[in-house]
Subunit: 188 residues, 2 copies
């Protein structure tokens, strides 16, 4: 086996995304990972540790995706579209990871501190972006938290609904329009 630890993480992600966190026994994870039940415990102390490790892994990949080709020296609007466009495309392309993240964030296993810590890089970038916009008089004079939450909430909910009930939306949902709506929401 190349990297059993990675294999176990992947199996866990697959299982949780498919069956949900509560319906995901270690026995099934080990079966999916192609190893014995005990083997998991060579790599992770407890199930909780396993889930936490998975969370870190997820955030890392998400952060990387969001910052892809992001350039802080570009005009405001380009940066906004780049960052949130990256985000939206990523969660659309990886619905399993989105569902997984949602479940982890809602579960008591992952506490607030961990989330904040894992998302630090992304936070720094978005806050810089919002501060710039406010200095330029383009964004509404509200706290970064608010502006961020509105944008994030809109996009995550769209991707979620689109995944849950694609038939409710037309053949295609224009990404440009969605980002435009977010932009309109926070601009003056």
């Amino acid at each position: 086996m190349i990297d059993k630890r990675q294999q176990i993480l992947q199996a866990t992600a697959d299982m949780i995304a498919e069956y949900g966190l509560q319906a995901c026994p270690m026995s099934k994870i080990s079966a999916r990972a192609g190893c014995g039940a005990g083997t998991i415990y060579r790599y992770f102390e407890t199930k909780e540790e396993l889930v936490k490790a998975l969370f870190e892994d997820l955030i890392e990949r998400l952060t990387e995706a969001c910052l892809h080709e992001y350039d802080a020296s570009q005009p405001l609007r380009d940066r906004f579209y780049r960052l949130w466009g990256n985000y939206y495309h990523y969660v659309l392309a990886n619905p399993g990871q989105r569902a997984l993240m949602e479940q982890l964030l809602a579960s008591p296993i992952i506490c607030n501190d961990q989330t904040d810590c894992a998302l630090r890089t992304l936070h720094l970038t978005t806050h810089q972006l919002l501060d710039d916009g406010k200095h330029q008089g383009v964004f509404k004079d509200l706290s970064n938290e608010i502006l961020n939450t509105i944008t994030y909430g809109s996009l995550i909910m769209m991707s979620k609904k689109l995944h849950q009930s694609p038939e409710k939306f037309g053949t295609e949902v224009p990404v440009e329009a969605l980002l435009g709506m977010c932009w309109d929401a926070i601009r003056c």
Copy 2:
């Protein structure tokens, strides 16, 4: 005991909101409800049935709250602020119910059909509102699902964050501003 069934539903809601759906054994529910473990089964066939009944109950109360003093003959903007203002105030005032709803919607116990059915009344109203707005040329020419999802996602995420980390927001978050952002997002 006045109404044991209501008491059990209330106890279940409290327990799930506090400890989460997966960490909520029947034994604790019965203890909280002040009855024996077996008594619950006089009112609900299984735990799953109990949770479903709770869900119906929640949606009913939410619908009632949203439509409070809603008048379809009022101007568009007033209706929008009334409907979504009601919604936002309700979830702010009942964070337990919001958390509960989120967990139920994410759990496999509640399927899509049930959600749609329970939310039918609310759906009819919002779609009417959005259709009117589009006919008047006030709202963007996008599907109702999209306009609705953006608004809903923004507000639910705000109330969630506000509950999880109130310290991140100033002493007060202006409701008017939030509804204004949603309005700006969907208007032309």
